[in-house]
């Protein structure tokens, strides 16, 4: 096992890894930017090193400085956390070249899965359903028509060079398909000087369900069941839970097996997540693989009793997984609410600053992962996540009741947070019924006026 690990990250995930190290008897080395200087969680590490100014590109994203710190501190491994360099295959390779273990998947798998097209090909190869669409560009309207008929309406017309919704059209029948192709081409032409478009099955109000994967280097890859992350705002997850409500067990099993076979095809190991879209008929489509530990990993830790960060470290140290698929039992229901330093009343504008009061909830079924304390100043430089509030209960109804109770107890002063909207979500009949999709938050709370 490693004697010393450097954590190339900050905030709650840095603290999460520090905690894992402490419990495993491994020394932890934290790095920090000047914006994070003096943050309380740094004192919990055995050593901490300043690696640059607040700007991430000059600190948490600056590979040479991280490697220098790692070499100076004489660590055997680096944990990248999530975000920053966590999915950067080049960084993983640099670590390998410097004889430092990268606590994550093999660079080769990161390369393959990092490229959307390659990942899509890989998924097909592994027999994992992907969102149907034209393999290449659409030359003639007839192709589009044939393809649309084949996969069924509605379909999405996308500009090859597109972005930000420009050159994008939803076609619900043959007529709107024809007109859509025309207008999309024109718009794309004028916007990107490239009128080429392609076609994709349009999945209306989908759910976002992902499967947690864990593998060792001897090819034992298991899934730790799914998480439903449909509650998102601008693709930012707000609430995650497991199990996915109202998901037929047959679908759930198929999805988990699909994720495992994809991981095996990619020669994957360590922790990772396979994301799917699920349509109203509970058909699931592969989106992408997140080749790292995820923000919402504690949801899975609660329902399986398996510590994912410790598992990552053990796998990186060459140990085999101590369990097989059949040993992994899913029990009860876990929900996570992301507490962000944002002001929901003002279109979730960031609300950094000094936390003048921090009074955390507690008691039965409550887990809180946070680096914040009273007197901590949330820097404006990074993402606004200040805490992950989780509950674990026998049933979903119990979990929702427990989360409501915990949110009511949570007092944070000095900054605005997402606590109020989480309270509304937990009290919303649609959420209580498990009838939400990725458009729910926008449809329900986002007033364009604000």
């Amino acid at each position: 096992m490693f004697q010393r690990i450097l954590i190339a990250n900050r905030g709650e995930i840095a603290l999460r890894v520090i905690r894992a190290c402490k419990e495993m008897g491994i020394e932890s080395v934290a790095v920090y930017s000047e914006a994070d200087r003096g943050a309380p969680y740094l004192h919990l590490a055995d050593q901490s090193i300043c690696i640059g100014p607040g700007t991430a590109t000059e600190s948490y994203l600056k590979i040479p400085r991280l490697i220098s710190a790692a070499e100076a501190a004489d660590v055997q491994a680096i944990h990248p956390g999530y975000g920053f360099l966590s999915e950067n295959a080049h960084f993983a390779e640099v670590c390998r070249d410097c004889k430092i273990e990268f606590i994550g998947p093999p660079p080769e798998a990161m390369h393959q899965l990092g490229n959307k097209n390659q990942a899509r090909k890989l998924a097909k190869k592994a027999g994992v359903p992907v969102v149907p669409g034209s393999e290449g560009l659409i030359e003639k309207d007839e192709e589009a028509l044939a393809l649309a008929r084949a996969m069924g309406f509605p379909v999405l017309i996308k500009a090859a060079a597109g972005g930000g919704g420009r050159g994008m059209r939803v076609a619900r029948d043959e007529q709107t398909l024809m007109s859509g192709l025309r207008s999309a081409r024109q718009e794309a032409e004028s916007a990107f000087k490239d009128g080429s478009v392609y076609l994709e099955k349009y999945i209306e109000q989908p759910r976002h369900v992902e499967v947690q994967l864990l593998g060792d280097r001897s090819g034992n890859i298991v899934h730790l069941w799914e998480r439903d992350c449909s509650l998102q705002r601008r693709h930012q997850k707000l609430v995650e839970e497991s199990p996915a409500p109202n998901l037929p067990d047959s679908v759930r099993k198929k999805m988990c097996e699909a994720a495992v076979s994809l991981a095996k095809t990619a020669g994957y190991y360590s922790a990772g997540t396979c994301e799917f879209l699920v349509d109203k008929q509970n058909r699931f489509y592969f989106i992408e693989v997140n080749a790292r530990i995820q923000v919402e990993h504690p949801v899975t830790e609660l329902v399986t009793g398996i510590d994912l960060v410790k598992a990552q470290i053990r796998v990186a140290a060459g140990e085999p997984l101590p369990f097989k698929q059949r040993d992994i039992v899913h029990r009860g229901c876990a929900i996570e609410c992301r507490i962000n330093a944002e002001n929901p009343a003002f279109n979730f504008r960031p609300s950094p600053g000094l936390i003048t009061r921090w009074q955390a909830p507690g008691g039965p079924g409550v887990r809180l992962d946070t680096h914040a304390v009273t007197g901590y100043r949330v820097p404006p430089n990074y993402d606004s996540l200040v805490a992950k509030l989780l509950v674990y209960q026998p049933t979903r109804a119990d979990a929702i009741a427990c989360m409501r109770r915990a949110l009511d107890e949570f007092i944070i002063e000095g900054i605005h947070t997402t606590i109020p909207i989480h309270g509304e979500i937990m009290r919303h009949p649609a959420f209580q019924a498990g009838q939400v999709d990725t458009t729910f938050i926008e449809r329900t709370w986002m007033q364009p006026g604000k």
Binding site: G52, P64, I67, S68, G353, R357
Partner: protein, 176 residues
């Protein structure tokens, strides 16, 4: 010196922000003004995007003061009992010295190669372009320039010592 009290103010302000909401935060103004008279500042002008706070004292100065200069500003009036104002006396160098800090993380090398003499010693006169040392990161040696003029009065790190970002490498007296 003014530095410490300003930082104190910073906390106080953020603090008030939470407890005294409102477009123009009186506690904020009160503390700004208290600071002004305490350090005899003639003007404070703060803005962020749409927001601005501008305070002037006494007879109007010719040019509006920019903020970074506040720390230097209290030349005459702040002379009386400056240390008294200091809650925690930092072990910072006398004001007239300039610090050359490490712009990166790595190993400090005083010489170009083991056989060569150090780039600079105490007493060496430097100009902004003078190479004062090298810092090695991932086998790459970065030459560090003084970026200021004066005489080296202190070499703060040992040869081959590991330096963090911002570590003070040298102290330079610009007036010597």
């Amino acid at each position: 010196m003014g530095r410490d009290s300003v930082i104190g103010l910073e906390n106080a302000l953020a603090d008030d922000a939470s407890t005294h909401p409102g477009p123009f935060d009186l506690p904020t103004i009160e503390q700004l003004v208290a600071l002004m008279s305490k350090h005899d500042l003639s003007e404070i002008d703060l803005r962020q995007g749409e927001q601005r706070i501008c305070l002037r004292r006494g007879t109007l100065p010719a040019t509006p003061a920019v903020l970074p200069s506040i720390a230097e500003k209290p030349a005459p009036a702040a002379a009386p009992s400056p240390r008294a104002a200091e809650p925690t006396p930092q072990s910072s160098p006398p004001r007239q010295l300039i610090e050359i800090k490490s712009p990166t993380v790595g190993t400090f090398y005083a010489q170009e190669k083991p056989t060569a003499p150090p780039y600079v010693n105490v007493g060496s006169r430097v100009t902004p372009t003078t190479i004062v040392c090298q810092i090695e990161a991932m086998k790459i040696f970065n030459e560090i320039t003084a970026d200021c003029s004066g005489v080296i009065v202190e070499v703060c790190v040992q040869n081959k010592e590991f330096v963090e970002y911002g570590t003070v490498l040298f102290r330079v007296d610009p007036n010597a």
